[in-house]
Symmetry: C2
Subunit: 352 residues, 2 copies
C-alpha cells in the first residue's frame, strides 16, 4: 500500500522529559489519516500531528459511531522498536467496526500504516524500563448529516503518545450493583466510544467513596463478574486461575487477557474461562483460597487488586509481593517486550 508522507520540519521529540513521562501530555510528530469514501479506502496519509477541521453536523458527534484500539510499541534492550500484537488489535477493531456498522480497516492500513508511523516517530519510543509508545488507532463517521442513519463516510486515524512507567499500586475495587456497563445483545464486547461515556459517572461515584475502579457485574442479578473499569479481570482461586469467559458478548476480548492465558497455560497452570459469581469469590475468600486478583489491559498490563468491596463487605487480598502467578506473568510479558527472553509467539512486530 502506498502511503503519502509529509514530514514535520523539526521534531518535537526533545520536548518529552525522559525522567518524567506523563501519558497523554505529548503526542508524537506525526499522525496517520485515511478516509473511507464511496466504499473505498483512500490513500492513507502520514502528516504532522495537528487539529482536524470538521463540520458541527458531522454524524459521529451526534450518533456516536466511533471506535478505537490501544496498542503499545517498545524499544528493546537491543535498541530495536517493536509493536506488541498489532494484528490482534486489528482483528478486534474490525469486530467493533462490524457491530457499529462501520467498514473493516484492512491490515495494510491498520498494521502497515502503524508500522510506518512508528518507524518515522521512533525517537518518541522511550527506552526506559516500563515505558512505551502508546498507539491509538480510531475511526469515526464523517457524513455531514444530522438525520439518524448509518453513516457512509468514515475516517481512520492513528496518533501516538509516550507512556511512562505505570505505577502498579494495588487497586481498591468496588463491585458495582447499581449501574450496568454491558448486557447481552448490546455492544459491551466492542471498543465503542459510547461504552466508556456510560462509565464516567459510576467511576466518579466510586472514586468519591475511596475506590479506584468498578468491577462490573451482569445486569440481571448483579452476580456474574464481567470486567474491571477498562480491564479484564483474573482471580487465583486455590491453585487455579479463573477469568470470565467471553460467550455473553458483554466483555472485551483483551489482547493482554489472551496473552496472560496463553503464558500461564504454557507454564502448566490451570486457567478456566467460565462464568464466575461474586458469591464464588467470597466463598474462596472465606476459605482463605482467594490468593491473587488482578486486572489486565494495554495501559496497566497487570494491575493487582488490594481489596474488593461488595454489599457491605470488604475482601482483602494478601500482600502483592507474595503473589506467585501474577508477578511471574507480568515480568514474563515485560521480558518478551524488552527482548530479554525469546518471543516464541512472534508477538513483537519490529518496525525498524
Amino acid at each position: 500500500m502506498n502511503i503519502l508522507t509529509s514530514k514535520v520540519e523539526a521534531s518535537r521529540a526533545n520536548e518529552v522529559d525522559a525522567t518524567n513521562i506523563q501519558f497523554g501530555k505529548s503526542y508524537s510528530d506525526h499522525m496517520l489519516v485515511a478516509d473511507y469514501i464511496d466504499g473505498v479506502w483512500q490513500t492513507p496519509q502520514i502528516i504532522p500531528y495537528g487539529n482536524i477541521s470538521i463540520s458541527p453536523a458531522t454524524t459521529f458527534i451526534h450518533y456516536g459511531q466511533s471506535i478505537f484500539e490501544g496498542v503499545k510499541a517498545y524499544k528493546n534492550i537491543h535498541g530495536e522498536v517493536a509493536i506488541f500484537r498489532p494484528k490482534d488489535n486489528n482483528k478486534r477493531f474490525n469486530i467493533s467496526a462490524e457491530r457499529l456498522a462501520m467498514p473493516h480497516v484492512p491490515e495494510e492500513i491498520f498494521v502497515g500504516g502503524m508500522k510506518e508511523l512508528v518507524a518515522l516517530d521512533s525517537d518518541w519510543v522511550p527506552n526506559q524500563d516500563g515505558c512505551s509508545l502508546y498507539i491509538r488507532p480510531f475511526m469515526f463517521a464523517i457524513d455531514e448529516f444530522i438525520g439518524v442513519k448509518p453513516a457512509e463516510k468514515f475516517r481512520f486515524m492513528i496518533i501516538t503518545s509516550p507512556a511512562g512507567q505505570y505505577y502498579n499500586k494495588p487497586t481498591k475495587i468496588y463491585v458495582q450493583d447499581k449501574y450496568v456497563r454491558a448486557f447481552p445483545g448490546g455492544i459491551g464486547f466492542t471498543k465503542a466510544a459510547g461504552n466508556y461515556a456510560a462509565c464516567m459517572l459510576p467511576m466518579l461515584e466510586v472514586k468519591a467513596l475511596g475506590y479506584d475502579q468498578n468491577l462490573w457485574t451482569d445486569g440481571i442479578e448483579h452476580k456474574y463478574i464481567h470486567e474491571i473499569g477498562t480491564m479484564n479481570v483474573f482471580f487465583v482461586l486455590g491453585d487455579k486461575v479463573v477469568t470470565p469467559d467471553l460467550s455473553g458478548g458483554t466483555i472485551l476480548a483483551g489482547v493482554t487477557r489472551d496473552s496472560v492465558i496463553k503464558l500461564l497455560k504454557e507454564k502448566g497452570i490451570t486457567v478456566e474461562e467460565r462464568p464466575i459469581t461474586i458469591d464464588e469469590i467470597r466463598e474462596y475468600y472465606y476459605k482463605g483460597e482467594l490468593k491473587e486478583a488482578f486486572g489486565t489491559g494495554t495501559a496497566a498490563v497487570i494491575a493487582p487488586i488490594a481489596e474488593l468491596y461488595y454489599d457491605g463487605q470488604t475482601l482483602e487480598l494478601p500482600p502483592v509481593d507474595e503473589w506467585q502467578i501474577s508477578n511471574w506473568v507480568a515480568k514474563h510479558i515485560a521480558d518478551i517486550r524488552y527482548g530479554k527472553v525469546e518471543d516464541t509467539h512472534h508477538w513483537m512486530m519490529k518496525v525498524k
Copy 2:
C-alpha cells in the same frame, strides 16, 4: 446573559428550495457556541455556521461523552416564529448530562441562546404547512487527553436546519428479539450519542428484511416493549391508549410523548403508562381490539404503524384513515404549533 454575535455578511437562506425542503441538506447562517472551562460557562457566541477545529486527541472522539436534543421552531399563520417546549428539552438535556458526567447547561444559554439564534435566522423557518426549523442543541467533551477519565472541558453548540413535511407513510415495524437498546442501570433514558451508534446495525438488518424500524424490547425476556427506533410508542387497545412507563430507565422521556398524553387526557381519553408485553398486544390483535399504533418524536411527530412483525407473525393494523385518536392528536398538535387553536399549555415560545 450576554451573547456575543458575529453575523454573516450575506445570508444563504435563499439557497433553500421552499418547494422541496430536504432535512439536513442545509444548515442556517449561524450557530451558537459556548465552552465550559474550569467549572464556568464562558460567554456564548453566535457566529457564522462553519467547521470547528479540534485536536485528534479530543476526549469525546474516543470516549463518547456527547449528548444532544431535538427541538423545532414553527412559523405560525400570523407570521410569528415560536419554538415548541424548549424548556422541557433543556430539562431532559440536563438529565442526560448528569448521567454522562457532564455539566448542566443553564436555561439562559440553552433556551436564551436558542431564542436569539432562531430570531437571527428567522428567515430560515419555513412557513409551509408541516414544515419547521429543526434545532439541534448538543454538547461534547473537549479535553485534549486520551486517558480514560471524565472530562473537565465541554462545548455546547446549537445548529439548525429547515425540515420539510414529514411523509407519514405508515411504517412496517420489526419487534427486535436479538439486539438490545437499553437495560436498567444503563443510559437508555438519555440522548447520548452512543445509544444511537448501537442501533445502526440492527436498523440495517431489519431494513434488509423490508422493515422500517425496530421495536425495542427488554433485554431479559424480549417481551416488554420499550420504544421504536428513535420514537416512543403508543397503542390503542379497545378504547384505551397505552404506552410504556418510564420507571425502568430504559426509555427516553419524549417531549412529544408527554404532549400526546396531556392532550389525550384533556380530551377525556384513558391513557395508561405501564409495562406492556408484546403478548398483550397480540391478544388485543386477535380479539380485534388493536385499533391504532404509532410512534411519537420530534422528527415525525406522530408516525402511524402499518404492521408489526414478531416471531413469525405479522399483526396488521386497520387503515390509518379510520384511526380516530392518533389523527386527532396529530392535527391538534399541528394546530397549536401553527397558531390555529389556542396554546392553553403555553408550549410555544415566541422568538420575535
